[in-house]
Homo-oligomer: 467 residues x 2
Amino acid sequence: MRILIPALLAAAALPAIAQTPPAPPPPVTVPADVAKLRDAALQDDYAWDITEGLTTEVGQRQAGTEAEARARAWAVARLTAMGFANVRIQPFTMPVWIRGAESAEILAPFPQKMVVAALGNSASTGPAGITGEVVGFDSLDALRAAPDSAVRGKIVFIDHKMAPTQDGSGYGQFGAPRRQGPTIASQKGAVGIVVRSIGTDHHRNPHTGTQSFANGATPIPAGALSVPDAEQMVRILKRGQPIRMHLTLVSRTLADQQSGNVIAEVPGRDPSLAPVLVGGHLDSWDLATGAIDDASGVAIAAAAAKRIMDAGQPLRTIRIVWFGAEEPGLFGGAAYQKSLGTQPHWAMLESDFGADRIWRVTSKLGTERRTEARTIAAALAPLGIVAGSYEEAEGSDIGPMLAAGQPGVGLSQDGTRYFDYHHTPDDTLDKVDKEQLRQNVAAWTATVAVLAGPISPRPAPKAGRRR
Amino acid sequence: MRILIPALLAAAALPAIAQTPPAPPPPVTVPADVAKLRDAALQDDYAWDITEGLTTEVGQRQAGTEAEARARAWAVARLTAMGFANVRIQPFTMPVWIRGAESAEILAPFPQKMVVAALGNSASTGPAGITGEVVGFDSLDALRAAPDSAVRGKIVFIDHKMAPTQDGSGYGQFGAPRRQGPTIASQKGAVGIVVRSIGTDHHRNPHTGTQSFANGATPIPAGALSVPDAEQMVRILKRGQPIRMHLTLVSRTLADQQSGNVIAEVPGRDPSLAPVLVGGHLDSWDLATGAIDDASGVAIAAAAAKRIMDAGQPLRTIRIVWFGAEEPGLFGGAAYQKSLGTQPHWAMLESDFGADRIWRVTSKLGTERRTEARTIAAALAPLGIVAGSYEEAEGSDIGPMLAAGQPGVGLSQDGTRYFDYHHTPDDTLDKVDKEQLRQNVAAWTATVAVLAGPISPRPAPKAGRRR
C-alpha cells in the first residue's frame, strides 16, 4: 500500500495524455533440441574428465616451458580421441620468465619467516638476496603520494583488503598494487617490493600474477606475501619499530621460447559461414595444476562442442581454441588475432573464471541479431541464469578481438570464491565442484547450440541385437 | 507411538515389584562471584591480546631453538607485566631435530612438483635427495600386510581420509600412518616414505608432526604430502604406470639444546593448600606462528588467572605453567612432573586444542568432590556447555600426571576445524575466532574460580576526584 499511494499521487499530477507503453518484444521459442542438449549436459562429466586428465597427467603448464609443450601434446591427443576434426597446433614464440628460489625473512624487530612468491617479470635478487628496511603503505595511492625520500633504498610493502564479489569486479581495483606497484616503487627508488596477495583467502599460499615495468622503470625484485603474512606485516608495522627484511626472489628470463594454440573443430554443414569460436587457455601459472585457471575453462568449451557434435552436425563450424600463454600477457590470443582472428566470426566465447555456476548471460551480437540473443537468454533461464546487457561480452584472450568488433557472448561465472585460489599453489582439482561444473557446461551447450545451429540430427543407429 | 509400544510390552513382562528411582542429587549453587567473573570474561580480550602478542612478536617457536628461548623471554616479561607473582623459568635440555630444504617431484610418468614437509625425526636425504619408485597403500594396515618384497628399495606412500570430528577423536586412528608408518616402512626395507597429511583441509599446506623410529628401525626420510598432493598421487597411481619420485628432505639433529617451562602464580590465601595448575604449551611447530597450537592455549589459561587475580585473592594458589617442548614429545610436562609434579595438586587443566568454544566439561576429582565437580558443570551450563564424565580429564603435558593420579578437569574445545590447520603453515592468528575465544576464556575463568575459590574481594578503590 505504501508503494501504491505515491503512484496514484504521481498519476494524478501527470497531464491527461494517453500513455503508450513500448510494445513488448515478440516471444522467442527455444528449439526443442537445444533444450534437450542443455538438459542432457546436466547429467554428464565430459568437462570433469578433461579437467581431471589435464591436471593429473600434465600438472602445471607454464607458458613457453616444456610443461606447456606436454600440455599441447596432451591436448592434441585428447581432442583427436574425442572425435574433433582439424586438430592442430598454431605455434608462436614468446619471452619466458622463470621462477627460482624465493624466501622472505624479517630480521628485526621480530625475526620470522614469511611466505612469498615472485610476481611475473620480477627482477632477480640473485641467490644471496637483498636486505632492506620495510616501508609500508595501506594502498597504492598512499605509495603514489609518498615523497621519493620515504621510499629510496627501501623495500616497499603495500597492503589493501580485497573483498570477494560474484562478478570478480574487484580484480581491477585490488589488482592495481600488483600491476602498478612495482613500477611506482621502482621509480621512487625502492630496492624491492612485496604486496599483499591479490586474494580473498586466508591461507599461507601467495598469489602470483604478471606485471611489467612501465615507463622505463628499472625492474626491481617484486613479490606477493600470502594474506596471513601481509596481515602479520601490518601488525608488526603497527609496533612502530624499524623493520629489516631479507628478500630472496631468484628468477631468469629466456627469449623466443615455443608456445602455441591448440585448435580443433566440429565442421559445420556450410563451411562458407563464419564459425563460432569457443575457448579457454591451456597454460597455467607454475605454482599449481591450474584446475580453475584454466583447465576447467578449456574443458567446458570442449564439452559443449562434444555434446553438440555427438547429437548431429551444426549449420556453422564450431572452432575450439585452447589458447597458449594467456597468463604472461595474452600471447595466444594475439597470435590467433593476427591470423584467423581477422576473419569474420559468428560469435566468440571464452571460459576463464573458474568452474562455478553461470549466473548471467550477456551478449554483443548487434541489434539485428536480438532475437538470437533473446533465444539464448530464454534457453538459459531454466538454469537460473539472468539476462544481462545486449551490448557486452567478455573474455581474456578474445578481449582484444571483441574490442575490435567481433561479436561475442559472455557467460558470467560465479566468482565469489575464485580469488581464494587464483594464481596460488591451491588451484588444484579438489576446488572444482562437479555439480556447478555441470550447470556451467549445460549453459555453454545451449548457448553454442543456438549460435551454431540448427543441428541436423544424425541418423539413428540401426537397432542392434538385444542382449 | 512405535517407541511406546515396545516399552509397554516390556513393562508388562517385568515382575510386579516396586521400582524406586535413584534419589536426585542435591541441588548445587553457583557462587555469585563465579557467575560474575564468567560473564565479565565474555566481554574482554585478555586471551586475544596474549595470542596476538606472542604470534606477532615471536612468531614460530620450535622447541629447543633460539626462537623458543625468545618466547620464554617474552613470556617472562608479559606474565610479569600482567602482575603475576613468582614468574620464573624451569630449564631443561633436550635433543632437537631441525628441518632443512625439502621438495618432492614426480619424474615419471607425469612430471610435476608436489608439496611436502618432513615429519619430526625424519632421516635426512642430504641435499641431493633420493630417487625411487613409489608404492602406494590405502591404509597403514595395507602396508603392514604387504610382503617386504613389495616395499624393499621403494618410496612408500600411504593414503587415508581423515574426517573432522568435534572431539578430535580421529587423531588417534588417522594419525597412525604418521606415527607408525615410517617405522613399518623402514622395517620392510623402504628407502623413504610420504604419507597423506593428517589433516581435514584441502590446501597445499602439509601437516608436519612428530614420529619416532621404534623397535630398532633404521631412520629413513619421512614426509607428509599436502592433502591435494596426496589425492593427486592417488589419481596418478590409478593410471597403473610405474611412478618415479625424487624426494629431498634435509634435516639435522642437535643434542642437549636448551628448553624450559615458564611458571607464574597467583598466590593463594593459604599457601599450604595444593595449587590449581592451569597451562598450555609455549612451543610451536616451525612452519607457522602456532596461533591455535598453542598460543591461544597459554593465553586462555593466563587470561582466566588474570581475571580472578584482578577480582581478589583466591583461597588456593593458581599456578600458570607454559610448558616448553610439547610438540617433539612432552619434554616440558616430563620436567615438571619430575620436580613439582609429584606434589599434591588440587587440579590440573591444560588448553591444547585450539581457540574454539568449549562444548563439554569432564572432571576427575574423586567421588568425595562430586559437589565441586557439579558446581563447575552448573557454572558452565549457561555457556552452552554440557556435563560429561566425572571419571576423566584431558591434557597433553599434564596427561602423564593425570594418569599418575593427579586430579584434573577437562574443558573440551570444539575441534571440528582444528585439523584444517594443525601443524601446518596455516596455523596463524587469522584462524582464531575472537567470539569463540571469549566463550572459552569464560568457561576457564568460572572453572578455575570454583577450584581455587572462594575469592576474597579486593577492597574497593577509594573514590577519586570526579573529572
